[in-house]
């Protein structure tokens, strides 16, 4: 493919095009492999930026990025969505930490109300201690395997679900089946 020297677009057109391409790439990840995806995006950028009707109209004519990505994918088997997997895993970890901090914060508030007092509890296999006395207040938790076990499992599960990792297996099966039938 010969690269096209793209004309300089106005800032608003460039932003509009970049946003569209970003959304398209997001959807394309589940349809095309890395190199094919880059080729498709580069080709589309060339076409839109050289369209005489202008970027706005050219993008409107292309339709929704999700529908366009489906057309680019044609009948290819669906692929894992790694970037969505990472976002889902990070979100799950953030939620876990938020819940954990709410729990410990709640404990701390309770013992502070009953000061001097000390409380022990367990949150998702982690032993948590909160105390409040004349010398000060504080929280603490054990740093054993349990401290890592739950968040690790949660992150892994979120990553697998978010990225639809099982597609890696089904895609390989479909590809080898297709290759086999083509040869035969």
């Amino acid at each position: 493919m010969t690269p096209t020297k793209r004309p300089k677009l106005s800032t608003s057109d460039q932003t509009r095009l970049d946003m569209f391409i970003l959304r398209l790439e997001w959807h394309l990840e589940g349809k095309l492999a890395g190199r094919d995806r880059k080729d498709a995006v580069r080709s589309l950028r060339d076409e839109v930026s050289t369209d005489l009707r202008g970027v706005k109209l050219a993008l409107a004519d292309l339709g929704a990025p999700s529908a366009l990505a489906t057309r680019y994918g044609d009948d290819a088997p669906p692929r894992p969505l790694w970037s969505i997997g990472i976002v889902t895993a990070a979100s799950a970890l953030a939620v876990w930490w938020a819940l954990f901090l709410c729990f410990t914060g709640g404990m701390l508030a309770a013992v502070d109300n009953l000061a001097p007092a000390k409380a022990n509890a367990t949150f998702a296999l982690v032993d948590v201690t909160a105390f409040s006395g004349p010398d000060g207040i504080g929280i603490g938790w054990t740093s054993g395997v349990a401290w890592l076990l739950v968040p690790t499992c949660l992150v892994l599960l979120a990553f697998i679900l978010g990225s639809r990792s099982w597609r890696l297996i089904t895609t390989r099966r479909t590809t080898s089946f297709t290759a086999g039938t083509t040869i035969n």
């Binding site: 020297k5 080709s43 589309l44 050289t50 005489l52 292309l62 339709g63 366009l68 680019y72």
Partner: protein, 90 residues
């Protein structure tokens, strides 16, 4: 589309217009993905050329594999239409 590209080199939007001229409504959202797939499968090749009324454009032309694919598709189409004619004329 392979037939149109085989008739003369065209850029993406030009193909949309050429299809519209023969009463086939296919937007760029349909034509661009097909061109990308054709290029991926080496059915077409592209080159960038200057344009008289705008920025340089990417023109697509048929490769030998594309010519074979076009001929095979045309043959399949003839067989299908012949079969349909046979049924409807009976």
């Amino acid at each position: 589309m392979l037939t149109l590209i085989g008739q003369r080199e065209s850029y993406g939007y030009e193909l949309v217009e050429r299809l519209a001229a023969i009463d086939i409504e296919a937007g760029t959202g349909l034509v661009y993905p097909v061109l990308t797939r054709f290029e991926r499968e080496d059915l077409v090749a592209s080159r960038t050329a200057a344009s008289t009324n705008g920025p340089p454009r990417r023109y697509f032309r048929l490769t030998p594999a594309g010519e074979r694919a076009r001929d095979e598709a045309a043959e399949r189409w003839r067989q299908i239409t012949a079969a349909i004619d046979q049924v409807t004329d009976a």
